[in-house]
């Protein structure tokens, strides 16, 4: 009884959540407020989410410029923050309450409560749990690597010899966001320069420690140890820890996450991350770097046509000038299978694999006698 009710509620909720005005598919404002350098180049393209700005104009920005320009390649953030992209990623991630609220041995994890409730009370609890679960499913943004800091404030060669070590100055004024804290370094040769990103991270962690972060690179993220962890199948753990250890535009974070996604791709273990906050960024990574073939095959093998269609649509949004996108634009009444077939013919890197998967799917459909969209 409970299981079937949960299923029904999960489906009901996803419709509520996607259609309701109370909860719109909004990119988390506090999360994005901390990513004030989402775009690299020009100031007028900057997406900064401040409190009180509903994010309406900014979230409706178009996906980035033509896919083959260097600018777009360097900056996936612009494409990631597109509302259409976010909607698809959220839909693909899904909401499996059992997985989201899975017991994790952690500090502060209490004993589960048992309560006797009426159907209506249970309904309310499921609703509130689902809204809270959406917060757990907030996706860490996919950004390009941050530009190195290279600013010299003053050159004083007459100070040479005064110190044999560097002097690091940090401003510990109250209520200054971490990214805006001034940290400068006076070198032994007398140059006063702004601290590099690595120096900043270490110094900020010393004076304003964030829980879950270590000073310096944890050994787990060294290449060999990372491979060991990946072979053990600890993808979600690695991604969670990377999220807490690094800033999301840190080249180390990008290296660790991309290596994890590649490993998942190699072993086909996409479902490990389903209904976690890393599923969206992983899908986006494959879409942005044009590696969605195995993923598409996996979706078709599961016989979820909706997911496959979503993936291809995402590809068309992120790479609007690709051949299949143009073809699909010219066929407004295309069925989902036709759209996927167009992608397989024109833009798939492993054409035969995808086409075979489509054929298998069609056979399955015919044998079960149903061609409707199924999840």
């Amino acid at each position: 009884m409970a299981a079937s009710m949960k299923c029904a509620w999960a489906r009901c909720l996803s419709t509520i959540l996607l259609n309701s005005t109370k909860h719109r598919c909004q990119i988390s404002q506090p999360l994005y407020a901390s990513c004030s350098n989402i775009t690299g180049d020009s100031g007028n393209d900057e997406i900064i989410f401040r409190k009180g700005e509903g994010g309406t104009d900014q979230t409706r920005q178009e996906a980035g410029p033509a896919d083959d320009t260097k600018k777009h390649r360097r900056d996936p953030g612009k494409a990631f923050t597109d509302v259409r992209v976010q909607k698809i990623l959220l839909r693909l991630t899904g909401l499996d309450l059992d997985k989201v609220y899975e017991y994790r041995a952690a500090k502060g994890a209490g004993v589960a409560k048992v309560a006797l409730m009426s159907d209506q009370q249970l309904k309310k609890v499921y609703e509130s749990a689902s809204y809270k679960a959406l917060r757990k499913l907030q996706m860490p943004p996919v950004l390009g690597a941050r530009e190195p800091i290279d600013e010299v404030l003053s050159e004083d060669p007459e100070l040479e010899g005064l110190n044999t070590s560097k002097l690091v100055f940090i401003d510990i004024s109250q209520r200054v966001p971490l990214k805006k804290r001034t940290i400068v370094v006076r070198e032994p040769n007398g140059t006063l320069r702004k601290a590099s990103w690595e120096e900043r991270d270490v110094t900020l962690q010393k004076y304003f420690p964030q829980s879950g972060r270590k000073i310096g690179l944890p050994r787990m993220f060294q290449q060999d140890n990372l491979e060991c962890m990946l072979d053990d199948g600890k993808h979600e753990y690695i991604l969670n820890r990377a999220c807490s250890q690094f800033e999301i535009d840190d080249p180390e974070y990008i290296r660790v996450t991309q290596r994890t996604y590649e490993h998942i791709d190699g072993n086909g273990k996409f479902e490990d991350l389903r209904s976690t906050r890393h599923f969206g960024p992983m899908i986006f990574y494959f879409t942005y770097y044009k590696k969605i073939d195995k993923l598409l095959v996996a979706f078709l093998e599961e016989e979820s046509l909706e997911d496959s269609l979503d993936l291809v649509k995402l590809y068309h949004i992120v790479h609007p000038s690709c051949k299949s996108a143009e073809k699909v634009a010219s066929m407004p009444d295309a069925t989902p299978l036709e759209i996927i077939r167009a992608f397989a013919e024109m833009d798939a890197t492993q054409k035969s694999l995808v086409q075979q998967a489509i054929q298998t799917y069609e056979k399955e459909c015919d044998s079960t006698g149903s061609t409707q969209l199924r999840r």
């Binding site: 004083d156 044999t164 401003d171 510990i172």
Partner: protein
């Protein structure tokens, strides 16, 4: 009594650590009454060869507005940090150290040279016949 922005030495034997505090200039640094602590300075370099200085610049500016005066060494440190212009003593100290280093290097070189010449001399003394024959 003068309100000062000064170092207060804490830490322990062979391990100094300074708090940058606002207090009356002539009060005892550890046991005396500190008006406010606005930073720290660690004179011992860490593993990355860095000496860490933290200053709450907003509070510093507030106390400067109240008429607090930084001591010589605090002013030097703030000069190195870019808040003040570089203190003349920083230039003087740097120059003194450079001269000392150069003198030490010169002394070392002189010492090496004298050692080399002494070694050559010793060589010549121990082989008198061969050199006399060669010169003749």
């Amino acid at each position: 009594m003068a309100l000062a922005i000064r170092f207060a030495l804490f830490g322990c034997t062979n391990r100094p650590f300074f708090h940058i505090v606002v207090m009356e200039k002539r009060r005892a640094q550890r046991s005396g009454k500190i008006k406010e602590m606005i930073g720290s300075y660690d004179p011992m370099p860490n593993q990355d060869n860095q000496k860490l200085v933290a200053v709450d610049f907003q509070k510093l500016q507030k106390w400067l507005g109240f008429g607090a005066v930084p001591t010589k060494h605090v002013a030097e440190l703030l000069g190195l940090g870019g808040f003040y212009p570089i203190h003349p003593m920083s230039y003087i100290k740097a120059k003194r150290k450079r001269t000392l280093m150069e003198k030490q290097v010169a002394d070392m070189q002189a010492k090496e040279e004298t050692q080399e010449t002494a070694a050559i001399q010793v060589n010549e003394d121990t082989q008198p016949d061969s050199t006399e024959d060669a010169s003749q």
